[in-house]
Symmetry: C2
Subunit: 166 residues, 2 copies
């Protein structure tokens, strides 16, 4: 058993002892979803004020809209959400490398050819433009519900502040 | 401004006022990543005991390993994580529909043809088998670091309890 597994078991026991939200419904009560980064410095529930049961939270490298499509469509078409709040953040790892760097790192560790040379890690070079581009992509996607409210934000890992971009 | 945006701005102001974690490093301090579902009833930080800065958290519909690959590879090969904790949960929406149901729902709302008929929403029919299958897939993927510790869990939305499957 790893230290991280021990930590999970110990802290989960504490969570269970005071848990009283066992009757929440499956569909998000506030009918919105949040897309944000997997970054370890982001706690979406605390930083964005999401109460348990209120919103879907999708997280991946970069808070990437395209990578979230399957989840967004399920959230919208099967579970009724009608608003998307997309949050990227300062100091994002995705701003620090090129696609070729990531391909080289995988090849060095695992061998050449385990990923196609065309594999796209989807790094980006400008934070605010990245937010705008993802919001534009979501608003124009034909499978996303037309009247969905979509907003784009930046979370500052240095201050905890979330500011709206678009 | 939507009610959900107002809620974010109001609660984030409170978060900022007591924020004191502005100097955390980019790579996860505890070198692990968690893959879990976007479900609104899961608060990974609280339920799984993840302190800010300690772990990457990837979330999507179903806590789906395949859909997380890009993020996992970045987490491992660029940011040094060496352990994966995958958590699916009771009452998951992904257990409640077939792929054809999801395709039909999108077509009904947005029109036939906005998604290819082969689009795979990746529902699954058995919770514990789904956990096992994803762990097996991760352990056998040639681009994932060989000695990665991978464990599979079920979170019970009714009790808050997380129990290990594999």
């Amino acid at each position: 058993m790893t230290d991280n597994v021990k930590n999970l078991e110990r802290k989960n026991a504490g969570y269970v002892s005071s848990f009283d939200k066992g009757s929440l419904a499956l569909p998000p009560a506030k009918k919105y979803l949040v897309v944000t980064c997997m970054d370890a410095r982001i706690d979406p529930a605390a930083a964005f004020g999401i109460d348990l049961g209120d919103a879907h939270v999708i997280r991946n490298a970069g808070g990437n809209a395209k990578d979230s499509l399957r989840s967004i469509l399920i959230s919208q078409h099967l579970l009724g959400t009608r608003e998307i709040i997309l949050v990227k953040h300062t100091g994002c790892g995705m701003l620090t490398f090129q696609n070729s760097d990531a391909l080289a790192a995988v090849a060095k560790s695992q061998g050449v050819g385990v990923l196609a040379g065309t594999y796209d890690f989807q790094p980006f070079s400008d934070l605010e433009q990245g937010v705008k581009d993802d919001v534009t992509w979501l608003k124009s996607h034909s499978a996303i519900v037309q009247d969905t409210a979509v907003s784009g934000w930046v979370y500052e890992v240095e201050t905890g502040k979330t500011r709206r971009v678009v």
